[in-house]
Protein backbone atom coordinates (compact mmCIF):
# COMPACT_ATOMS: atom_id res chain seq x y z
CA UNK A 1 0.00 0.00 0.00
CA UNK A 2 2.69 2.41 1.00
CA UNK A 3 4.77 1.29 -1.94
CA UNK A 4 1.99 2.02 -4.41
CA UNK A 5 1.31 5.45 -2.95
CA UNK A 6 4.99 6.20 -3.06
CA UNK A 7 5.37 5.16 -6.68
CA UNK A 8 2.30 7.13 -7.72
CA UNK A 9 3.51 10.26 -5.96
CA UNK A 10 6.98 9.91 -7.38
CA UNK A 11 5.86 9.45 -10.94
CA UNK A 12 3.34 12.27 -10.65
CA UNK A 13 5.93 14.70 -9.29
CA UNK A 14 8.65 13.60 -11.70
CA UNK A 15 6.38 13.97 -14.71
CA UNK A 16 5.34 17.47 -13.78
CA UNK A 17 8.88 18.52 -13.02
CA UNK A 18 10.27 17.09 -16.19
CA UNK A 19 7.61 18.43 -18.49
CA UNK A 20 8.39 21.98 -17.48
CA UNK A 21 11.76 21.48 -19.11
CA UNK A 22 10.11 21.92 -22.46
CA UNK A 23 9.24 25.43 -21.44
CA UNK A 24 12.32 26.33 -19.48
CA UNK A 25 15.07 25.10 -21.71
CA UNK A 26 13.57 26.01 -25.06
CA UNK A 27 13.03 29.63 -24.11
CA UNK A 28 9.30 29.38 -24.51
CA UNK A 29 7.45 32.68 -24.38
CA UNK A 30 5.41 31.96 -21.24
CA UNK A 31 8.45 30.85 -19.36
CA UNK A 32 10.52 33.85 -20.36
CA UNK A 33 7.63 36.08 -19.34
CA UNK A 34 7.39 34.57 -15.89
CA UNK A 35 11.05 34.73 -15.17
CA UNK A 36 11.30 38.28 -16.44
CA UNK A 37 8.64 39.31 -13.97
CA UNK A 38 10.65 37.70 -11.22
CA UNK A 39 13.83 39.38 -12.36
CA UNK A 40 15.61 36.10 -12.94
CA UNK A 41 15.76 36.02 -16.71
CA UNK A 42 17.73 34.25 -18.24
CA UNK A 43 20.07 32.68 -15.65
CA UNK A 44 17.35 31.95 -13.12
CA UNK A 45 15.29 30.14 -15.73
CA UNK A 46 18.19 27.84 -16.57
CA UNK A 47 19.11 27.29 -12.93
CA UNK A 48 15.56 26.39 -11.95
CA UNK A 49 15.34 24.21 -15.01
CA UNK A 50 18.45 22.29 -14.01
CA UNK A 51 17.22 21.91 -10.43
CA UNK A 52 13.89 20.58 -11.62
CA UNK A 53 15.63 18.16 -13.96
CA UNK A 54 17.86 16.82 -11.15
CA UNK A 55 14.92 16.61 -8.77
CA UNK A 56 12.88 14.67 -11.30
CA UNK A 57 15.68 12.17 -11.89
CA UNK A 58 16.39 11.73 -8.19
CA UNK A 59 12.72 11.09 -7.55
CA UNK A 60 12.68 8.29 -10.04
CA UNK A 61 15.81 6.53 -8.77
CA UNK A 62 14.74 4.41 -5.79
CA UNK A 63 17.93 5.14 -3.92
CA UNK A 64 17.57 8.91 -3.78
CA UNK A 65 13.86 9.56 -3.42
CA UNK A 66 14.21 11.64 -0.26
CA UNK A 67 16.83 13.87 -1.84
CA UNK A 68 14.71 14.43 -4.94
CA UNK A 69 11.70 15.15 -2.79
CA UNK A 70 13.57 17.73 -0.72
CA UNK A 71 14.94 19.46 -3.79
CA UNK A 72 11.55 19.50 -5.48
CA UNK A 73 9.95 20.72 -2.24
CA UNK A 74 12.41 23.59 -2.21
CA UNK A 75 11.85 24.56 -5.83
CA UNK A 76 8.08 24.33 -5.44
CA UNK A 77 8.20 26.41 -2.26
CA UNK A 78 10.04 29.02 -4.27
CA UNK A 79 7.39 28.82 -6.98
CA UNK A 80 4.56 29.17 -4.47
CA UNK A 81 6.24 32.19 -2.88
CA UNK A 82 6.65 33.60 -6.37
CA UNK A 83 2.94 33.22 -7.10
CA UNK A 84 1.93 34.85 -3.85
CA UNK A 85 4.32 37.74 -4.08
CA UNK A 86 4.55 38.63 -7.75
CA UNK A 87 3.06 36.30 -10.30
CA UNK A 88 -0.52 36.16 -9.15
CA UNK A 89 -3.18 33.65 -10.14
CA UNK A 90 -4.50 35.00 -13.40
CA UNK A 91 -5.74 32.48 -15.99
CA UNK A 92 -3.00 30.05 -16.88
CA UNK A 93 -1.05 31.01 -13.81
CA UNK A 94 -3.73 29.50 -11.57
CA UNK A 95 -3.31 26.04 -13.00
CA UNK A 96 0.46 26.38 -12.65
CA UNK A 97 -0.01 27.35 -9.03
CA UNK A 98 -2.25 24.38 -8.36
CA UNK A 99 0.25 22.04 -9.95
CA UNK A 100 3.03 23.52 -7.84
CA UNK A 101 1.00 23.01 -4.69
CA UNK A 102 0.19 19.47 -5.75
CA UNK A 103 3.85 18.62 -6.25
CA UNK A 104 4.71 20.41 -2.99
CA UNK A 105 2.24 18.26 -1.05
CA UNK A 106 3.36 15.08 -2.81
CA UNK A 107 6.96 15.78 -1.97
CA UNK A 108 6.11 16.48 1.65
CA UNK A 109 4.53 13.05 1.83
CA UNK A 110 7.49 11.50 0.06
CA UNK A 111 9.89 13.09 2.54
CA UNK A 112 7.96 11.58 5.41
CA UNK A 113 7.74 8.19 3.70
CA UNK A 114 11.37 7.97 2.63
CA UNK A 115 13.08 10.22 5.16
CA UNK A 116 15.24 7.35 6.30
CA UNK A 117 17.44 7.80 3.23
CA UNK A 118 18.83 11.09 4.50
CA UNK A 119 22.07 10.50 6.42
CA UNK A 120 21.87 12.44 9.66
CA UNK A 121 18.31 13.67 10.03
CA UNK A 122 16.92 10.48 8.61
CA UNK A 123 16.67 8.70 11.92
CA UNK A 124 13.72 10.86 12.83
CA UNK A 125 11.68 8.77 10.44
CA UNK A 126 12.42 5.35 11.89
CA UNK A 127 9.23 3.55 12.77
CA UNK A 128 10.13 2.92 16.38
CA UNK A 129 10.60 6.57 17.13
CA UNK A 130 8.02 9.35 16.89
Amino acid sequence: MIKITSIVLRIFSAVILLQTLRFNFTGHQDSVEIFSELGMEPSGRIIIGVLELIAGILLLIPFSIAWGAILAWGVMSGAIIGHFTQLGFVDGRLSMFILSVAVWVSCSFLIVLHGRQIPVIGHMFDKSKV
Binding site: G39, G74, S77, G82, M124, V130
Partner: protein, 514 residues
Amino acid sequence: MTSLAIDLHRISKFANYTIPFLSVLFFILGSNVSFYFHFLTVAFLFLTIVNFFYLKVQTEHALLRNFGFLAQGRYIIESIGPELRQYLYASDTEERPFNRSERAEIYRKAKDIDSASSFGSLKDFDTSEIKIRHSLYPRDQEDLTPYSLTFGEERGIKNTFTITSPLIISAMSYGALGEHAVRALARGAKLAGIPMNTGEGGFPKHHLKEDCNLIFQMGTAKFGVRGEEGNLDDQKLKELVSHEQIKMIEIKLSQGAKPGKGGLLPKEKITKEIAELRGVPMDKDVISPPHHNECKDKATTVAFLRKVQEVSSLPVGLKLCVGSFTEVKALVQEMIDQDTFPDYISIDGSEGGTGAAPKAFMDRVGVPLYPALSGVNKILCKAGVRDRLKLLASGKLVNPGRQMLAFALGAQAIYSARGFMMAMGCIQTLQCGNNTCPVGITTHDRSLQKGLDIGAKSIRIKNYVQNIEHDLSELLSATGQKTFESLTMKNLYVPEDSTLAPLLDNTTRQLSNL
Protein backbone atom coordinates in the same frame (compact mmCIF):
# COMPACT_ATOMS: atom_id res chain seq x y z
CA MET B 1 33.96 29.32 33.36
CA THR B 2 35.60 32.55 32.25
CA SER B 3 33.59 35.15 30.45
CA LEU B 4 35.51 34.41 27.28
CA ALA B 5 34.39 30.78 27.13
CA ILE B 6 31.78 29.57 24.68
CA ASP B 7 28.40 28.96 26.25
CA LEU B 8 26.79 26.33 24.05
CA HIS B 9 23.40 26.81 25.70
CA ARG B 10 23.21 30.41 24.74
CA ILE B 11 24.48 29.76 21.24
CA SER B 12 21.76 27.18 20.73
CA LYS B 13 19.05 29.50 21.97
CA PHE B 14 20.36 32.20 19.70
CA ALA B 15 20.38 29.83 16.72
CA ASN B 16 16.83 28.69 17.42
CA TYR B 17 15.53 32.23 17.18
CA THR B 18 17.78 33.19 14.33
CA ILE B 19 16.70 30.45 11.95
CA PRO B 20 13.04 31.51 11.64
CA PHE B 21 14.09 35.13 11.74
CA LEU B 22 16.37 34.62 8.78
CA SER B 23 13.57 32.91 6.87
CA VAL B 24 11.44 36.00 7.28
CA LEU B 25 14.36 38.27 6.48
CA PHE B 26 15.20 36.48 3.27
CA PHE B 27 11.55 36.43 2.31
CA ILE B 28 11.42 40.20 2.60
CA LEU B 29 14.64 40.57 0.71
CA GLY B 30 13.41 38.17 -1.93
CA SER B 31 10.21 40.10 -2.42
CA ASN B 32 11.80 43.50 -2.54
CA VAL B 33 15.37 43.19 -3.70
CA SER B 34 15.87 40.14 -5.87
CA PHE B 35 13.97 36.93 -6.33
CA TYR B 36 17.20 35.01 -6.02
CA PHE B 37 17.06 35.54 -2.26
CA HIS B 38 14.22 33.07 -2.13
CA PHE B 39 16.69 30.22 -2.52
CA LEU B 40 17.77 31.12 0.99
CA THR B 41 14.21 31.68 2.14
CA VAL B 42 13.30 28.17 1.14
CA ALA B 43 16.43 26.69 2.72
CA PHE B 44 15.86 28.42 6.05
CA LEU B 45 12.17 27.60 5.90
CA PHE B 46 13.15 23.95 5.67
CA LEU B 47 15.53 24.34 8.60
CA THR B 48 12.80 26.07 10.58
CA ILE B 49 10.46 23.16 10.05
CA VAL B 50 13.15 20.62 11.01
CA ASN B 51 14.07 22.64 14.08
CA PHE B 52 10.44 22.94 15.09
CA PHE B 53 10.16 19.21 14.81
CA TYR B 54 13.21 18.76 17.02
CA LEU B 55 12.12 21.24 19.65
CA LYS B 56 8.41 20.66 19.90
CA VAL B 57 7.29 17.47 18.26
CA GLN B 58 9.78 14.65 18.85
CA THR B 59 10.07 13.31 22.36
CA GLU B 60 12.92 10.81 22.06
CA HIS B 61 15.92 13.08 22.52
CA ALA B 62 16.10 15.52 25.42
CA LEU B 63 19.06 17.35 23.92
CA LEU B 64 17.16 18.09 20.73
CA ARG B 65 14.12 19.20 22.67
CA ASN B 66 16.18 21.64 24.66
CA PHE B 67 18.65 22.91 22.18
CA GLY B 68 17.32 22.14 18.74
CA PHE B 69 19.29 21.92 15.58
CA LEU B 70 22.79 22.52 16.93
CA ALA B 71 22.51 19.65 19.37
CA GLN B 72 22.52 17.37 16.35
CA GLY B 73 26.26 18.03 16.31
CA ARG B 74 26.73 16.00 19.48
CA TYR B 75 25.16 12.95 17.87
CA ILE B 76 27.20 13.37 14.71
CA ILE B 77 30.51 13.61 16.54
CA GLU B 78 29.60 10.76 18.87
CA SER B 79 28.90 8.52 15.92
CA ILE B 80 32.40 8.95 14.49
CA GLY B 81 33.94 8.61 17.94
CA PRO B 82 35.16 5.01 17.50
CA GLU B 83 36.98 5.85 14.30
CA LEU B 84 38.54 8.98 15.77
CA ARG B 85 39.66 7.09 18.81
CA GLN B 86 41.02 4.15 16.83
CA TYR B 87 42.95 6.21 14.34
CA LEU B 88 43.96 9.32 16.26
CA TYR B 89 43.64 9.13 20.00
CA ALA B 90 44.15 5.58 21.28
CA SER B 91 47.69 4.50 22.11
CA ASP B 92 49.26 1.43 20.51
CA THR B 93 48.52 -0.72 23.54
CA GLU B 94 45.10 0.62 24.41
CA GLU B 95 42.56 -0.85 22.02
CA ARG B 96 40.52 -3.93 22.80
CA PRO B 97 40.16 -6.78 22.12
CA PHE B 98 43.44 -6.58 20.20
CA ASN B 99 45.61 -3.52 20.47
CA ARG B 100 47.36 -1.98 17.51
CA SER B 101 50.72 -3.57 18.14
CA GLU B 102 49.18 -7.05 18.27
CA ARG B 103 47.18 -6.43 15.14
CA ALA B 104 50.14 -4.95 13.33
CA GLU B 105 52.07 -8.14 13.98
CA ILE B 106 49.28 -10.20 12.43
CA TYR B 107 48.97 -7.92 9.42
CA ARG B 108 52.69 -8.03 8.77
CA LYS B 109 52.73 -11.81 8.99
CA ALA B 110 49.79 -12.03 6.63
CA LYS B 111 51.46 -9.77 4.10
CA ASP B 112 54.72 -11.66 4.53
CA ILE B 113 56.56 -8.55 5.65
CA ASP B 114 59.36 -9.04 8.09
CA SER B 115 57.93 -8.33 11.51
CA ALA B 116 61.07 -7.55 13.46
CA SER B 117 60.42 -4.83 16.00
CA SER B 118 62.88 -2.22 17.06
CA PHE B 119 64.20 -0.50 20.12
CA GLY B 120 62.26 -2.41 22.76
CA SER B 121 59.03 -3.94 23.89
CA LEU B 122 55.84 -1.96 24.43
CA LYS B 123 54.97 -4.12 27.41
CA ASP B 124 55.44 -3.15 31.03
CA PHE B 125 57.63 -6.00 32.23
CA ASP B 126 56.03 -5.57 35.59
CA THR B 127 55.25 -8.09 38.28
CA SER B 128 52.22 -9.61 36.60
CA GLU B 129 53.44 -10.57 33.14
CA ILE B 130 54.33 -14.15 32.34
CA LYS B 131 57.45 -14.85 30.32
CA ILE B 132 58.80 -17.88 28.54
CA ARG B 133 61.99 -19.23 30.02
CA HIS B 134 64.56 -19.79 27.35
CA SER B 135 67.46 -22.17 27.77
CA LEU B 136 71.11 -21.28 27.99
CA TYR B 137 71.58 -23.99 25.38
CA PRO B 138 69.03 -23.49 22.63
CA ARG B 139 68.50 -26.16 20.04
CA ASP B 140 69.23 -25.93 16.36
CA GLN B 141 66.14 -25.87 14.20
CA GLU B 142 67.09 -29.20 12.62
CA ASP B 143 67.02 -30.87 16.04
CA LEU B 144 63.37 -30.15 16.55
CA THR B 145 60.96 -33.02 16.12
CA PRO B 146 58.60 -32.23 13.23
CA TYR B 147 55.18 -31.52 14.60
CA SER B 148 52.60 -34.24 14.25
CA LEU B 149 49.38 -34.95 16.12
CA THR B 150 47.08 -37.86 15.38
CA PHE B 151 43.50 -37.75 16.58
CA GLY B 152 41.73 -41.01 17.25
CA GLU B 153 44.86 -43.07 17.80
CA GLU B 154 43.96 -43.78 21.43
CA ARG B 155 40.77 -45.50 20.40
CA GLY B 156 42.44 -47.28 17.54
CA ILE B 157 39.79 -46.33 15.01
CA LYS B 158 40.35 -46.62 11.31
CA ASN B 159 39.76 -42.99 10.33
CA THR B 160 42.39 -41.26 12.40
CA PHE B 161 43.30 -37.72 11.45
CA THR B 162 46.82 -36.39 11.56
CA ILE B 163 47.81 -32.76 11.47
CA THR B 164 51.29 -31.57 10.69
CA SER B 165 50.94 -28.00 11.88
CA PRO B 166 49.91 -26.86 15.34
CA LEU B 167 47.43 -24.29 14.01
CA ILE B 168 43.78 -24.94 13.21
CA ILE B 169 41.21 -22.41 12.03
CA SER B 170 38.61 -22.22 14.76
CA ALA B 171 34.85 -22.24 14.47
CA MET B 172 33.24 -19.39 12.60
CA SER B 173 29.87 -20.33 11.16
CA TYR B 174 28.67 -19.52 7.68
CA GLY B 175 26.05 -17.04 8.75
CA ALA B 176 28.38 -15.24 11.06
CA LEU B 177 30.78 -15.04 8.12
CA GLY B 178 29.81 -14.31 4.57
CA GLU B 179 30.49 -16.60 1.65
CA HIS B 180 33.63 -14.90 0.44
CA ALA B 181 35.21 -15.06 3.88
CA VAL B 182 34.40 -18.74 4.31
CA ARG B 183 35.87 -19.61 0.96
CA ALA B 184 38.98 -17.49 1.48
CA LEU B 185 39.59 -19.24 4.81
CA ALA B 186 39.01 -22.66 3.30
CA ARG B 187 41.28 -21.99 0.36
CA GLY B 188 43.92 -20.53 2.62
CA ALA B 189 43.67 -23.56 4.89
CA LYS B 190 44.21 -25.80 1.90
CA LEU B 191 47.22 -23.80 0.77
CA ALA B 192 48.71 -23.81 4.25
CA GLY B 193 47.95 -27.46 4.90
CA ILE B 194 45.86 -26.95 8.02
CA PRO B 195 42.29 -28.00 8.80
CA MET B 196 39.37 -25.67 9.29
CA ASN B 197 36.47 -25.86 11.71
CA THR B 198 33.16 -25.29 9.96
CA GLY B 199 31.40 -23.58 12.82
CA GLU B 200 27.84 -24.42 13.78
CA GLY B 201 26.25 -23.08 10.60
CA GLY B 202 24.95 -26.35 9.29
CA PHE B 203 25.91 -28.20 6.17
CA PRO B 204 29.28 -26.79 5.06
CA LYS B 205 28.18 -25.99 1.55
CA HIS B 206 30.78 -23.32 0.86
CA HIS B 207 33.62 -24.88 2.79
CA LEU B 208 33.42 -28.01 0.67
CA LYS B 209 34.05 -26.03 -2.49
CA GLU B 210 37.68 -25.47 -1.59
CA ASP B 211 38.87 -29.01 -0.90
CA CYS B 212 40.43 -28.44 2.52
CA ASN B 213 40.22 -30.68 5.58
CA LEU B 214 37.22 -29.88 7.71
CA ILE B 215 36.18 -30.36 11.30
CA PHE B 216 32.39 -30.29 11.44
CA GLN B 217 31.06 -28.55 14.53
CA MET B 218 27.74 -29.58 15.99
CA GLY B 219 26.30 -26.64 17.87
CA THR B 220 23.47 -26.95 20.35
CA ALA B 221 20.94 -26.37 17.57
CA LYS B 222 22.62 -29.10 15.51
CA PHE B 223 22.18 -27.28 12.22
CA GLY B 224 22.88 -29.67 9.41
CA VAL B 225 22.26 -32.83 11.40
CA ARG B 226 19.11 -31.81 13.16
CA GLY B 227 16.32 -34.30 13.65
CA GLU B 228 12.93 -33.99 15.26
CA GLU B 229 12.69 -31.95 18.42
CA GLY B 230 16.32 -30.94 18.05
CA ASN B 231 17.84 -34.37 18.59
CA LEU B 232 20.58 -35.80 16.45
CA ASP B 233 19.49 -37.26 13.15
CA ASP B 234 21.75 -40.28 12.64
CA GLN B 235 21.05 -40.50 8.96
CA LYS B 236 22.00 -36.90 8.29
CA LEU B 237 25.20 -37.33 10.26
CA LYS B 238 26.12 -40.41 8.25
CA GLU B 239 25.48 -38.57 5.00
CA LEU B 240 27.58 -35.69 6.20
CA VAL B 241 30.62 -37.77 7.07
CA SER B 242 30.46 -39.49 3.72
CA HIS B 243 32.16 -36.35 2.40
CA GLU B 244 35.75 -37.36 2.70
CA GLN B 245 36.91 -33.83 3.43
CA ILE B 246 35.22 -34.00 6.81
CA LYS B 247 37.84 -35.47 9.07
CA MET B 248 36.52 -34.90 12.57
CA ILE B 249 33.36 -34.00 14.43
CA GLU B 250 33.28 -31.47 17.22
CA ILE B 251 30.45 -31.31 19.74
CA LYS B 252 30.15 -27.78 20.99
CA LEU B 253 28.95 -27.66 24.56
CA SER B 254 29.73 -23.98 25.07
CA GLN B 255 31.97 -21.22 23.76
CA GLY B 256 33.97 -18.63 25.64
CA ALA B 257 32.17 -15.57 24.33
CA LYS B 258 28.76 -16.68 25.58
CA PRO B 259 29.22 -19.67 27.86
CA GLY B 260 26.00 -21.24 29.02
CA LYS B 261 24.07 -19.62 26.19
CA GLY B 262 23.43 -20.92 22.73
CA GLY B 263 24.66 -19.41 19.48
CA LEU B 264 23.21 -16.15 18.18
CA LEU B 265 22.72 -14.98 14.62
CA PRO B 266 21.08 -11.53 14.36
CA LYS B 267 18.16 -11.33 11.95
CA GLU B 268 19.93 -8.72 9.84
CA LYS B 269 22.29 -11.47 8.69
CA ILE B 270 19.77 -14.16 7.81
CA THR B 271 19.65 -14.43 4.05
CA LYS B 272 17.30 -16.70 2.17
CA GLU B 273 20.11 -19.18 1.68
CA ILE B 274 20.94 -19.32 5.37
CA ALA B 275 17.28 -19.64 6.29
CA GLU B 276 17.14 -22.69 4.05
CA LEU B 277 20.48 -24.16 5.13
CA ARG B 278 19.59 -23.89 8.80
CA GLY B 279 15.85 -24.35 8.50
CA VAL B 280 14.95 -21.16 10.34
CA PRO B 281 12.63 -18.21 9.66
CA MET B 282 14.09 -15.02 8.27
CA ASP B 283 12.54 -12.36 10.42
CA LYS B 284 13.77 -13.32 13.89
CA ASP B 285 17.19 -13.65 15.50
CA VAL B 286 18.31 -17.26 15.45
CA ILE B 287 19.00 -18.26 19.04
CA SER B 288 20.32 -21.75 19.56
CA PRO B 289 19.29 -23.50 22.79
CA PRO B 290 21.71 -23.34 25.70
CA HIS B 291 22.45 -27.05 25.68
CA HIS B 292 22.19 -30.04 23.42
CA ASN B 293 18.84 -31.78 23.83
CA GLU B 294 20.56 -35.01 24.70
CA CYS B 295 23.04 -33.51 27.16
CA LYS B 296 21.23 -32.83 30.39
CA ASP B 297 23.88 -34.00 32.81
CA LYS B 298 27.23 -35.73 32.79
CA ALA B 299 25.84 -39.21 32.17
CA THR B 300 23.77 -38.23 29.16
CA THR B 301 26.57 -36.04 27.81
CA VAL B 302 29.07 -38.87 27.77
CA ALA B 303 26.45 -41.20 26.32
CA PHE B 304 25.76 -38.72 23.54
CA LEU B 305 29.48 -38.45 22.86
CA ARG B 306 29.72 -42.20 22.50
CA LYS B 307 26.75 -42.24 20.14
CA VAL B 308 28.31 -39.62 17.88
CA GLN B 309 31.57 -41.55 17.88
CA GLU B 310 29.78 -44.70 16.84
CA VAL B 311 27.57 -43.18 14.18
CA SER B 312 30.28 -41.11 12.55
CA SER B 313 33.28 -43.43 12.90
CA LEU B 314 35.45 -40.33 13.00
CA PRO B 315 37.47 -38.71 15.77
CA VAL B 316 35.05 -36.73 17.91
CA GLY B 317 35.99 -33.87 20.20
CA LEU B 318 34.28 -31.67 22.77
CA LYS B 319 34.50 -27.91 22.81
CA LEU B 320 33.70 -26.14 26.02
CA CYS B 321 34.44 -23.11 28.11
CA VAL B 322 35.22 -23.93 31.73
CA GLY B 323 32.93 -22.60 34.43
CA SER B 324 33.41 -24.92 37.34
CA PHE B 325 36.37 -27.26 37.72
CA THR B 326 34.26 -29.43 39.99
CA GLU B 327 31.88 -30.09 37.14
CA VAL B 328 34.76 -30.83 34.80
CA LYS B 329 36.27 -33.24 37.29
CA ALA B 330 32.92 -35.00 37.64
CA LEU B 331 32.58 -35.20 33.86
CA VAL B 332 36.04 -36.72 33.55
CA GLN B 333 35.14 -39.25 36.20
CA GLU B 334 31.98 -40.11 34.27
CA MET B 335 34.11 -40.64 31.19
CA ILE B 336 36.24 -43.06 33.14
CA ASP B 337 33.15 -44.85 34.44
CA GLN B 338 31.61 -45.21 31.00
CA ASP B 339 35.03 -45.79 29.41
CA THR B 340 34.18 -43.24 26.74
CA PHE B 341 36.63 -40.49 26.01
CA PRO B 342 36.46 -37.73 23.42
CA ASP B 343 39.37 -37.81 21.03
CA TYR B 344 40.11 -34.28 22.06
CA ILE B 345 38.82 -31.57 24.33
CA SER B 346 39.07 -27.98 23.13
CA ILE B 347 39.12 -25.42 25.92
CA ASP B 348 37.80 -22.02 24.89
CA GLY B 349 38.80 -19.24 27.23
CA SER B 350 36.19 -16.67 28.20
CA GLU B 351 38.15 -14.13 26.18
CA GLY B 352 36.99 -15.95 23.05
CA GLY B 353 35.42 -13.98 20.24
CA THR B 354 32.06 -14.07 18.52
CA GLY B 355 29.96 -12.38 15.87
CA ALA B 356 27.25 -11.48 18.33
CA ALA B 357 26.77 -12.04 22.03
CA PRO B 358 25.12 -10.22 24.92
CA LYS B 359 27.63 -7.96 26.57
CA ALA B 360 27.40 -9.46 30.03
CA PHE B 361 28.22 -12.90 28.69
CA MET B 362 31.12 -11.60 26.66
CA ASP B 363 32.58 -9.63 29.56
CA ARG B 364 31.85 -11.58 32.67
CA VAL B 365 31.06 -15.22 32.20
CA GLY B 366 33.51 -18.11 32.09
CA VAL B 367 37.06 -18.81 33.21
CA PRO B 368 39.83 -17.26 31.09
CA LEU B 369 41.95 -19.55 28.95
CA TYR B 370 45.20 -19.93 30.89
CA PRO B 371 43.69 -20.90 34.26
CA ALA B 372 41.05 -23.03 32.50
CA LEU B 373 43.55 -24.87 30.34
CA SER B 374 45.98 -25.43 33.14
CA GLY B 375 43.21 -26.58 35.46
CA VAL B 376 41.77 -29.08 32.99
CA ASN B 377 45.23 -30.39 32.21
CA LYS B 378 45.85 -31.00 35.90
CA ILE B 379 42.46 -32.69 36.36
CA LEU B 380 43.21 -35.07 33.50
CA CYS B 381 46.73 -35.81 34.77
CA LYS B 382 45.55 -36.45 38.32
CA ALA B 383 42.82 -38.77 37.06
CA GLY B 384 45.44 -40.66 35.12
CA VAL B 385 43.72 -40.25 31.77
CA ARG B 386 45.70 -37.44 30.21
CA ASP B 387 47.01 -39.80 27.57
CA ARG B 388 43.53 -40.88 26.45
CA LEU B 389 42.82 -37.66 24.58
CA LYS B 390 44.33 -34.53 23.13
CA LEU B 391 43.94 -31.03 24.50
CA LEU B 392 43.36 -28.01 22.27
CA ALA B 393 43.15 -24.36 23.29
CA SER B 394 41.52 -21.23 21.94
CA GLY B 395 40.97 -17.69 23.15
CA LYS B 396 42.91 -14.75 21.68
CA LEU B 397 45.76 -17.04 20.61
CA VAL B 398 46.69 -14.94 17.64
CA ASN B 399 50.40 -14.43 18.13
CA PRO B 400 53.22 -16.87 18.84
CA GLY B 401 53.87 -15.45 22.33
CA ARG B 402 50.47 -16.37 23.67
CA GLN B 403 50.46 -19.62 21.73
CA MET B 404 53.67 -20.74 23.42
CA LEU B 405 52.10 -20.04 26.80
CA ALA B 406 49.15 -22.24 25.81
CA PHE B 407 51.53 -25.04 24.85
CA ALA B 408 53.31 -24.73 28.17
CA LEU B 409 50.02 -24.98 30.02
CA GLY B 410 49.09 -28.25 28.35
CA ALA B 411 47.69 -27.55 24.89
CA GLN B 412 48.79 -29.73 22.04
CA ALA B 413 47.39 -27.64 19.19
CA ILE B 414 46.10 -24.12 18.79
CA TYR B 415 42.69 -23.00 17.57
CA SER B 416 42.44 -19.41 16.42
CA ALA B 417 39.56 -17.61 14.74
CA ARG B 418 40.14 -13.90 15.02
CA GLY B 419 43.80 -14.31 14.18
CA PHE B 420 42.75 -15.65 10.79
CA MET B 421 40.09 -13.02 10.39
CA MET B 422 42.66 -10.31 10.91
CA ALA B 423 45.00 -12.02 8.50
CA MET B 424 42.15 -11.77 5.98
CA GLY B 425 41.78 -8.06 6.52
CA CYS B 426 39.64 -7.54 9.61
CA ILE B 427 40.32 -4.10 11.06
CA GLN B 428 38.40 -4.48 14.32
CA THR B 429 35.49 -2.13 13.62
CA LEU B 430 33.32 -4.25 15.94
CA GLN B 431 30.35 -4.30 13.54
CA CYS B 432 30.16 -8.04 12.98
CA GLY B 433 26.56 -8.38 14.14
CA ASN B 434 25.16 -5.54 11.99
CA ASN B 435 25.80 -7.00 8.55
CA THR B 436 27.89 -3.91 7.75
CA CYS B 437 31.42 -5.29 7.94
CA PRO B 438 33.42 -2.78 5.87
CA VAL B 439 35.95 -5.38 4.72
CA GLY B 440 33.34 -7.89 3.63
CA ILE B 441 34.09 -10.64 6.13
CA THR B 442 31.08 -10.85 8.45
CA THR B 443 28.46 -9.57 6.09
CA HIS B 444 26.15 -10.97 3.43
CA ASP B 445 25.79 -7.68 1.61
CA ARG B 446 27.06 -8.39 -1.89
CA SER B 447 28.42 -4.89 -2.38
CA LEU B 448 30.58 -5.24 0.74
CA GLN B 449 31.68 -8.80 0.12
CA LYS B 450 33.15 -7.90 -3.23
CA GLY B 451 35.90 -6.09 -1.34
CA LEU B 452 37.17 -9.45 -0.16
CA ASP B 453 38.98 -11.14 -3.02
CA ILE B 454 39.07 -14.85 -2.25
CA GLY B 455 42.31 -15.57 -4.09
CA ALA B 456 44.29 -12.71 -2.59
CA LYS B 457 43.06 -13.26 0.95
CA SER B 458 43.68 -16.98 0.88
CA ILE B 459 47.32 -16.21 0.21
CA ARG B 460 47.32 -13.94 3.26
CA ILE B 461 46.07 -16.86 5.34
CA LYS B 462 48.84 -19.06 4.02
CA ASN B 463 51.47 -16.43 4.78
CA TYR B 464 50.10 -15.96 8.28
CA VAL B 465 50.25 -19.68 9.01
CA GLN B 466 53.74 -20.11 7.64
CA ASN B 467 55.13 -17.11 9.48
CA ILE B 468 53.56 -18.25 12.74
CA GLU B 469 54.99 -21.73 12.29
CA HIS B 470 58.39 -20.16 11.66
CA ASP B 471 58.17 -18.05 14.81
CA LEU B 472 56.93 -20.97 16.87
CA SER B 473 59.78 -23.20 15.84
CA GLU B 474 62.27 -20.45 16.67
CA LEU B 475 60.67 -20.02 20.07
CA LEU B 476 60.74 -23.74 20.65
CA SER B 477 64.42 -23.87 19.78
CA ALA B 478 65.03 -21.08 22.25
CA THR B 479 63.48 -23.05 25.08
CA GLY B 480 65.80 -25.97 24.40
CA GLN B 481 62.93 -28.42 24.01
CA LYS B 482 62.28 -30.62 21.00
CA THR B 483 58.49 -30.70 20.93
CA PHE B 484 55.68 -28.43 22.03
CA GLU B 485 54.27 -31.22 24.13
CA SER B 486 57.32 -31.29 26.37
CA LEU B 487 56.75 -27.69 27.40
CA THR B 488 55.36 -27.34 30.90
CA MET B 489 54.88 -24.63 33.45
CA LYS B 490 58.49 -25.12 34.41
CA ASN B 491 59.32 -23.42 31.11
CA LEU B 492 57.45 -20.32 32.20
CA TYR B 493 58.47 -17.50 34.46
CA VAL B 494 55.34 -16.79 36.49
CA PRO B 495 55.71 -13.87 38.90
CA GLU B 496 53.96 -13.84 42.26
CA ASP B 497 51.41 -11.25 41.21
CA SER B 498 50.37 -13.06 38.09
CA THR B 499 46.93 -14.67 37.95
CA LEU B 500 48.60 -17.95 37.16
CA ALA B 501 50.75 -17.95 40.28
CA PRO B 502 48.24 -19.94 42.38
CA LEU B 503 48.33 -22.67 39.73
CA LEU B 504 52.00 -23.39 40.19
CA ASP B 505 52.76 -26.39 42.31
CA ASN B 506 55.26 -25.99 45.08
CA THR B 507 58.41 -27.02 43.23
CA THR B 508 57.62 -24.84 40.24
CA ARG B 509 56.81 -21.93 42.51
CA GLN B 510 60.14 -22.26 44.22
CA LEU B 511 61.83 -22.27 40.87
CA SER B 512 59.81 -19.24 39.92
CA ASN B 513 61.17 -17.24 42.75
CA LEU B 514 64.78 -17.77 41.80
